[in-house]
């Protein structure tokens, strides 16, 4: 049996933290990340059981379900939701790095949750090498143009559409399209420096 226990205790905590973070409290994000991470991990694990082999997981569905669970019993607040997406984008990025690192390791440490994620989220093995490079490139982009980096996180890592990304970032879809276009050429150039164009599939 899974830990419904955790959900019940955490539901209002999450809403509060999201609220605090949206009001500029950066420490709230640090507290949120592990909760969201755990919830995503748990859900991914459940999906694994539910889905037949060969099926893979859709990040958006996962994120939505995580939100529903974490905000259980509370009025689902629209702003909370967009913040939640943003937290998830961070978490997914963290997971991505974990996955890439875990695969790079000769032997996996048993019981480590990143391995479960790795199993649940289908990523072509050959992309791994460049995931780190992509993450590095994203970090550079973040320093120069943070919103464009966020667009990439939301579109590429969380799987949001242009409209959803626009909603989360409170900008027009056209702006997202423009950011997306430019972010891609930016990243391509950055990656070509490290000869890691294999990120594209």
């Amino acid at each position: 049996m899974t830990s419904a226990h955790g959900n019940i205790v955490k539901s209002h905590e999450v809403t509060q933290l999201l609220n605090a973070w949206s009001h500029g409290d950066q420490t709230a994000l640090n507290q949120l990340m592990p909760i969201v991470y755990d919830e995503l991990r748990r859900l991914a694990h459940q999906y694994m059981r539910r889905e037949s082999p060969g099926h893979s997981l859709q990040t958006t569905a996962l994120v939505n379900e995580a939100y529903l669970r974490l905000a259980q019993g509370k009025a689902v607040d629209w702003t909370d939701r967009t913040h939640f997406f943003a937290v998830c984008a961070r978490v997914m990025r963290r997971i991505l790095i974990d996955i890439a690192n875990a695969r790079g390791r000769v032997k996996r440490t048993p019981g480590e949750h990143r391995v479960e994620f790795e199993e649940a989220l289908t990523i072509a093995e050959e992309r791994d090498g460049s995931l780190i490079a992509l993450n590095d490139a994203l970090e550079t982009l973040e320093a120069v143009d943070p919103r464009k980096a966020q667009v990439v996180e939301l579109r590429y890592l969380v799987g949001l559409s242009v409209e959803e990304t626009a909603t989360v970032l409170k900008v027009k879809p056209d702006t997202v399209m423009r950011d997306w276009r430019l972010a891609k050429v930016w990243l391509l150039r950055e990656l070509s420096k490290t000869e890691s164009l294999a990120v594209s599939h």
């Binding site: 859709q58 529903l68 430019l182 891609k184 050429v185 599939h201």
Partner: protein, 963 residues
């Protein structure tokens, strides 16, 4: 790069990206205004563009495949398309064609991605002849515009656009995932309650369209899409007219597969799909909205009965039926609400003037039915959908503002999938409830709560609840739900948690099916000691949600003193745990204390009966069994209907050897609930005890019939066969157990035993070996695996190995007489180990005597005395005494169980080893007659000398001839 530099680059880069490569040079020169380093830097962004167009385009985590399955098509793609369409992968205007969804009467339909708006759409290619003529094209556009008026209705698929590129005209339609009503009807008719909300939505779609003056003209199951959240989307509204406004060419007619166009004598065009055409349509008359109401009636009729209202061998036959014949109204299922019957009859009036006059009238009738308090069926459905899941989804979708987007659809699909898959044939396992904040070992009320729910739910005839003891013993508390259901062969699982905060209790619970979908969940809240109320609430919700027909669910009667509730559940919880002679006493004590407070509570009396029954079992204590019976009888006086108490009484009677009264008790339960496993097995065992073997066998088989996927029922049947020396049949059942429950060692041990009895020692040995591996994995111990393994080794003449195996078994349990006896046998065969063999036999005898031996115990004891007596170099007096004891005990055993194969086998040993071969041979004959397998005699090293006797050979020959 600094942010400032980037701000400088960004706008120029953006513009440059929008330009064809050939024009960029000029543009950059002007834009950079002679700044060479700026230009070089911008150019560095433009280099890689050509071959990396799909960079980052697919989200890194893959999409699930089910999203891609479905389409707007009027007909599933049944004629397989051998060559992939050349369009796939192509770009049509701003649409990238992804896949062919299907071919239908309206041409080909593709799934495409709208690259501008980044969404998936369905593209319906139109026959070229429709748009060649400018005048026709104009009219077509007008119609498409009219269509767009319907775009705001939630039950009508949206027409996004009518687009034209150089070589094709196409409609851009909302892409609706899900199955069509036609697909769904392929699995059979729909229950009235399931159909009702679907047809409410179809009626709403028709009402909205008719209000705009738009007639569908071709409503049919294939045009009605059901999204994964059970939302209806009517497709192709008005398209029939749009596409067939003018006489189509022969080539177009050929392509119309499901929507037929017919010519009447006056060259009027008939549009529609024949079985759903209205009478006026078959005459080619002018149509109004009432033609849709006819089709609506036809489709609903088909949904409820699984057959079309009008059929015919060919089109003209069918036309005739539509024009003149009445549908078979008897075919509607009995539970069709009367107002719906009447509505369908109104829809299918031949004369439009006599027909139902509007879709709004249909909506009114449906609303009446849905709101009628008498309609239990509908009430259940509404409660179920609206309260539990639907609300959650709608609120989520609304807050997202993304109602019709794909990922949300997929998400909604996951959730809504929970609505449908309630198995028809329901078998439920209830897991012990967990206690939040309470580690499992401090479990206070969790098992008791599960037991209480078990007792409530098991009175529902349409539901088979696995006896709680089975799930508790299976020790699957930490296994996944799927694993539990698979192992126990059930298709539903109820589990939950108890949360206590101060004075309040919340019980969270949920039910899921074996397809991995959660069916529903809920929370019951109350004050401490409100358990009785909460139990009743949960049981009622579960019964309701599982769509069970419950006439009256028994409810738990509250105690006089509220505080008794918790004490009672604690005692009940303790009773479901691992019990020993030591732990049962305090439970009995606390139940007696409770009884002084609640002297007339049937629940407490029943629990007392069960507690004493456990004591009887643990200590082989007949007095305790009699007390158990008394409490059960008292409980029955308080509550004569209680199934639980009747079962308790039956078990106590059975224990006391009162097999006929036990049968009567079990039968009274089983007559009401043919699938009650405890009652069936109780009947089987009691009949077996009474010596009524055919009846016993039929009940064991009945257990398998009612619980076909539960290994426990097969295990019992196997054990029965084994007892009857029907080893091949036992093997078959036990192999099933082993496959179904591969993690349990029991199946392997039993298969090993059956193979052993069939003389297949080498195979038997491997199964015992595997059993020991399983036991080690599960951190369990079972001396029987050692006994089996060692015995197989013994028969394979590996005496050293056998002795070592028995020795290993003894380290687990040095109180097992069988292990000591077998160790003696093995040591006896190893030269120089005689005195150790003597000691082993001696221990075996002492331990057997201690446990009030039954017939089999007496026979084994006799066998051990006989075996010990032949050890060389023994004191003569001891030898004589051993032989005397052997003969005495075997006499007693034979008296108690004259035809038991195991007893007879022991007597062969005893008589042979005490020098009485004639009697040994008599026993051989009798044992064979009662089913002893020949291999047990032929391979037994101990009986080598006996096998040389003429009498023995004669018996064997006779036996083999008779088979």
């Amino acid at each position: 790069m600094s942010p400032e530099r980037w701000q400088q680059i960004e706008p120029i880069l953006d513009e440059a990206l929008a330009l064809p490569a050939s024009e960029r040079g000029l543009f950059l020169e002007r834009a950079c205004n002679g700044d060479a380093s700026l230009r070089a830097e911008i150019e560095s962004f433009l280099i890689e563009k050509s071959h990396t167009s799909d960079f980052l385009e697919q989200p890194i985590f893959a999409l699930p495949s089910e999203i891609k399955q479905v389409g707007v098509t009027t007909q599933p793609n049944t004629h397989s398309i051998v060559t992939p369409s050349p369009l796939i992968g192509q770009q049509l205007s701003s649409y990238k064609i992804i896949s062919l969804l299907g071919k239908g009467g309206m041409g080909e339909v593709y799934l495409a991605r709208d690259t501008r708006l980044d969404r998936e759409v369905a593209i319906k290619l139109l026959p070229p002849m429709l748009t060649r003529d400018p005048e026709r094209e104009e009219r077509f556009k007008r119609e498409a515009k009219l269509q767009a008026k319907l775009n705001n209705h939630q039950n009508i698929a949206i027409v996004h656009a009518l687009e034209q590129s150089e070589d094709a005209s196409f409609l851009v339609l909302e892409y609706v995932p899900g199955e069509t009503l036609g697909d769904r009807l392929q699995h059979g008719a729909l229950p009235a309650a399931e159909a009702l909300p679907l047809f409410r939505q179809i009626a709403a779609a028709l009402a909205a369209a008719h209000a705009q003056g738009i007639i569908h003209r071709d409503l049919k199951p294939a045009n009605i899409k059901i999204t994964p959240n059970e939302q209806i989307k009517v497709l192709d509204f008005g398209l029939a007219k749009l596409l067939h406004h003018e006489a189509p060419t022969a080539e177009a007619v050929d392509s119309l597969l499901t929507t037929r166009t017919y010519w009447t004598t006056d060259r009027q065009v008939i549009i529609g799909t024949v079985p759903y055409m209205s009478p006026e349509q078959t005459y080619g008359k002018e149509l109004d909205h009432r033609t849709d109401l006819w089709a609506f009636g036809c489709v609903w009729y088909e949904a409820l009965t699984g057959q079309r209202p009008f059929t015919g061998a060919d089109t003209f036959d069918l036309f005739n039926a539509i024009r003149t014949q009445a549908p078979n109204w008897q075919a509607l299922p009995a539970d069709t609400p009367q107002p719906i019957r009447k509505l369908l009859q109104q829809c299918l009036q031949k004369e439009p003037a006599q027909r139902l006059s509007s879709a709004n009238d249909a909506l009114r009738v449906i609303a009446e039915v849905e709101n009628s308090p008498g309609s239990l069926l509908i009430a259940k459905l509404k409660r179920w959908k609206n309260q539990v899941v639907y609300a959650a989804i709608v609120s989520l979708a609304m807050t997202l503002g993304l109602v019709y987007r794909q990922p949300i659809q997929a998400y909604v699909a996951t959730m809504m999938a929970w609505l449908t898959p309630i198995p028809k044939d329901k078998t439920l396992v209830i897991l012990p409830f967990k206690e939040l904040g309470n580690p499992a070992k401090e479990d206070k009320v969790g098992r008791g709560l599960a037991k209480a729910l078990h007792d409530l739910l098991m009175s529902i005839a349409d539901l088979r609840v696995l006896p709680l003891a089975e799930s508790v013993q299976a020790n699957l508390t930490n296994a996944s739900a799927d694993h539990v259901m698979k192992t126990l062969g059930v298709n539903l699982l109820l589990q939950g948690e108890v949360q206590r905060e101060g004075d309040a209790i919340t019980i969270h619970y949920r039910v899921q099916n074996n397809q991995g979908t959660a069916l529903f969940s809920g929370s019951a809240k109350g004050k401490s000691d409100d358990y009785a109320k909460l139990q009743n609430e949960i049981a009622a919700t579960v019964a309701n949600a599982l769509k069970l027909n419950v006439v009256s669910l028994p409810s738990t009667t509250s105690f006089q003193d509220q505080s008794s509730e918790t004490k009672y559940l604690e005692a009940l919880t303790a009773l479901q745990g691992d019990l020993t002679r030591e732990t049962i006493a305090p439970i009995i004590k606390s139940l007696h204390e409770l009884q002084t407070k609640e002297p007339t509570s049937a629940r407490v009396l029943a629990a007392l009966s069960q507690a004493y029954f456990h004591q009887a079992n643990l200590a082989n204590d007949f007095d305790a069994a009699r007390t158990a019976l008394q409490f059960a009888e008292q409980a029955l006086q308080q509550d004569a209907q209680s199934i639980e108490v009747q079962l308790a009484s039956g078990q106590a009677l059975y224990f006391l050897g009162e097999c006929q009264p036990a049968i009567a008790r079990f039968r009274s339960v089983q007559e009401k609930q043919p699938g009650n496993l405890e009652a069936i097995l109780g009947l089987a065992r009691a009949h077996q005890d009474c010596g009524q073997l055919p009846e016993a066998e039929s009940f064991y088989k009945s257990a398998v019939t009612h619980w076909p996927n539960y290994w426990g029922s097969h295990n019992e049947l196997g054990a029965f066969y084994f007892d009857q020396a029907r080893y091949e049949e036992a093997l078959r059942e036990w192999e099933w157990v082993m496959l179904q429950n591969p993690d349990g060692a029991g199946g392997y041990i039993n298969v090993g035993n059956a193979l052993f009895k069939l003389g297949q020692y080498a195979q038997s040995e491997t199964y015992f070996h595997q059993a020991l591996n399983k036991l080690a994995t599960n951190q369990e111990t079972n001396e029987n695996a050692y006994i089996g393994w060692g015995t197989a080794q013994f028969y394979l003449e590996k005496y050293q190995d056998a002795a070592a195996t028995f020795e290993a078994g003894l380290t687990l349990n040095d109180k097992s007489p069988w292990l000591w006896a077998n160790k003696g046998d093995a040591l006896y065969r190893i030269p120089g180990q005689e005195s150790k063999a003597f000691e082993a036999y001696k221990n075996a005898i002492t331990l057997t005597k201690r446990n009030q031996p039954d017939a089999l115990g007496l026979a084994r004891m006799a066998e051990i005395y006989a075996k010990r007596s032949r050890i060389k170099g023994m004191d003569e007096q001891v030898k004589t005494e051993d032989q005397q004891n052997a003969l005495n005990f075997i006499r007693q055993a034979r008296k108690e169980a004259p035809t038991d194969v195991e007893v007879l086998l022991s007597s062969i040993f005893v008589y042979h080893l005490t020098g009485d071969n004639p009697r040994a041979i008599d026993s051989v004959a009798l044992a064979l007659k009662n089913g002893l397998h020949l291999s047990e005699l032929q391979n037994e090293p101990e009986l080598w000398a006996l096998r040389q006797e003429d009498g023995y050979v004669a018996i064997i020959n006779q036996h083999q001839k008779s088979r």
